[in-house]
C-alpha cells in the first residue's frame, strides 16, 4: 500500500543538503544597473 507522506515531511527529506556557506547564484536577469534606476 502506498502511504502518502505529509508534504512538509517529504519536502524535508527531499531537500538536497546545501554545503555550509552556499550562496545561490544571482538571478540571470534583470542585469546590473549602469547609471541609476528611475
Amino acid at each position: 500500500s502506498v502511504a502518502k507522506r505529509a508534504v512538509a515531511e517529504a519536502a524535508q527529506h527531499d531537500k538536497v543538503p546545501r554545503p555550509v556557506g552556499f550562496v545561490p547564484p544571482p538571478p540571470p536577469c534583470p542585469g546590473r544597473i549602469r547609471y541609476f534606476d528611475i
Binding site: 540571470p28 536577469c29 534583470p30 542585469g31 541609476f36 534606476d37 528611475i38
Partner: protein, 264 residues
C-alpha cells in the same frame, strides 16, 4: 543521452552585452528626434534557436537619455547620461535580433521614452527645475527670441529651427527659462535673410550642416538672454536619417512628450 539544453543567457553575460550594444547603436542610428540614449540595464534576454549557428534573440532594454543630440557626431561613449536631478528621461525598448554564424543584426525594435516622474525628482531635489510641458508658450518664446538674437549677430549662415530638444523653467529664485534646440544651416547668409527670409531653406542633404543651441533667458529679477550655438559641419548622413518631404518644415518638438519609435 541528448545533450542538456544550454543554460539560459544571463543579462550580464558577454553575449548579452554584445547584443545590447548592437541594439543601442541601431536605435540611435534610426532615431530622428531628441537625444542619443545609453544602455542602463538589460532587463531581459530570450534566445530562440532556429538551427545550427542561427538564433533569434529578444532583448528588453532600459535606456537613459544622454546630453548628446541625436544629430551630434559625438560618439555615444563620450555622451554624458543626464543625471536624475536634471530630470532624466528613460527609454524602454524591445528589440528582436538575429545571430547567424556569430553576426548580430537587428530585425525590429520598439521604443518608448518618458521623463521621470516630477514627484520623484521633487522628492530628491525640491528646487530642481523640471522639464516644461510640450506647449509651454514661455519656452516657444524663448527659443524664438534666442534664435533671432543669434541670427541677428552671426556673420555665418542663417540658422533655421529643426526641433526643441528640451526645456526647463525655474520660478524661484528668479524666473529662468533654459532651452536646448536643434538647428540647421540654410542657403542664406544672415544678411540675405534680413532681406528675404522666406527664400532661406535648409541646405540639401549633400551639404547639410546641423547644429545645436542652448539658450537661457532670465526674466526676473532682471532681463537677460544668453545663446550659444555650435554647428557640427557637414556630416556624411547616416543611411538611417533620410530627408523626407517637408524636411525643412520639421515640426517643433519638445522633449518631455512620450516619444515612441518603431523600427523594423
Amino acid at each position: 543521452v541528448p545533450a542538456a539544453p544550454p543554460a539560459p543567457l544571463g543579462c550580464d553575460d558577454p553575449e548579452s552585452e554584445a547584443a545590447a550594444e548592437v541594439a543601442v547603436n541601431y536605435i540611435n542610428g534610426h532615431s530622428h528626434h531628441g537625444y542619443k540614449f545609453a544602455l542602463n540595464r538589460i532587463e531581459d534576454i530570450r534566445v530562440v534557436p532556429q538551427g545550427p549557428n542561427n538564433d533569434i534573440i529578444f532583448l528588453e532594454l532600459d535606456l537613459l537619455e544622454t546630453k548628446c543630440p541625436i544629430l551630434s557626431p559625438t560618439p555615444l561613449a563620450n555622451c554624458t547620461v543626464r543625471s536624475f536631478a536634471e530630470h532624466a528621461v528613460e527609454g524602454d525598448c524591445d528589440v528582436k535580433l538575429q545571430k547567424v554564424d556569430g553576426i548580430l543584426s537587428v530585425l525590429a525594435s520598439k521604443c518608448h521614452s518618458h521623463a521621470d516622474s516630477r514627484e520623484d525628482i521633487l522628492k530628491v531635489c525640491p528646487d530642481c527645475p523640471l522639464l516644461a510641458s510640450m506647449n509651454n508658450t514661455e519656452v516657444l518664446e524663448t527659443v524664438s527670441a534666442a534664435l533671432n538674437d543669434y541670427n541677428s549677430k552671426t556673420t555665418d549662415s542663417y540658422l533655421r529651427l529643426l526641433e526643441i530638444g528640451r526645456a526647463k523653467i525655474q520660478y524661484h529664485p528668479g524666473h529662468v527659462v533654459a532651452t536646448e534646440f536643434a538647428v540647421g544651416a540654410t542657403n542664406c547668409s544672415a544678411q540675405e535673410a534680413k532681406a528675404n527670409v522666406g527664400a532661406c531653406q535648409l541646405l540639401p542633404e549633400d551639404q547639410s550642416n546641423f547644429g545645436f543651441c542652448t539658450a537661457v533667458m532670465v526674466k526676473a529679477p532682471s532681463q537677460d538672454l544668453q545663446v550659444d550655438c555650435q554647428l557640427y559641419g557637414h556630416q556624411v548622413p547616416a543611411p538611417a536619417f533620410p530627408c523626407f518631404p517637408g524636411y525643412s518644415r520639421l515640426l517643433v518638438l519638445l522633449q518631455g512628450i512620450i516619444l515612441s519609435q518603431d523600427t523594423s
